[in-house]
């Protein structure tokens, strides 16, 4: 199993609508990628760094789980443009991506 982490770096003055992300964006991702091997997703809403009250590195991290990297690539080829076009509806942060093997 692989995980695509979509990480939105925290920065002053940036906005992130957690409600839209949870209730609209990720259900859309799930619907569009259901035929492309997406298994599930997890949303991590940044609270802090290690110390209480410190800033989190990321306002939000979305972890998308697939059987294989090729599933994700095929899904993005088919629906990536639509999914990316939805990003301004919840944030002005440019996401960073990481693909990992889940051990």
């Amino acid at each position: 199993m692989i995980c695509v982490s979509v990480m939105y770096p925290q920065a002053p003055g940036k906005r992130f609508d957690h409600v839209y992300y949870e209730q609209k964006h990720l259900p859309l991702v799930m619907e569009r990628l259901a035929g492309h091997g997406i298994l599930r997703y997890e949303i991590q809403q940044g609270l802090s760094g290690l110390g209480p009250g410190s800033e989190p590195m990321f306002a939000c991290i979305g972890n998308l789980y697939f059987t294989a990297v090729s599933d994700f690539q095929q899904g993005m080829a088919a629906h990536g443009a639509e999914l990316q076009a939805d990003i301004p509806n919840f944030t002005d942060i440019q996401p960073q991506f990481q693909i990992s093997e889940v051990a």
Copy 2:
């Protein structure tokens, strides 16, 4: 439920022993924090960025799940020194931490 993400940034010349991390370090974390509310953990071994063959941001991300932040804090107060002392056994990367609410 909260998640403590322990993120090891990828950098040239740095080492990360994924076998030790999976087979020794995280079982030790689980054992020591079992009485402090740890629920489970997940290991993400960095493969790439968004593009095939690109470098991942993080060599590895360990996600530790707890019921509450206070559980993690109490567990680290009791066992943090021992757990941190084990880090040089698998890496010379300084980890970065993020605490998140799992939506």
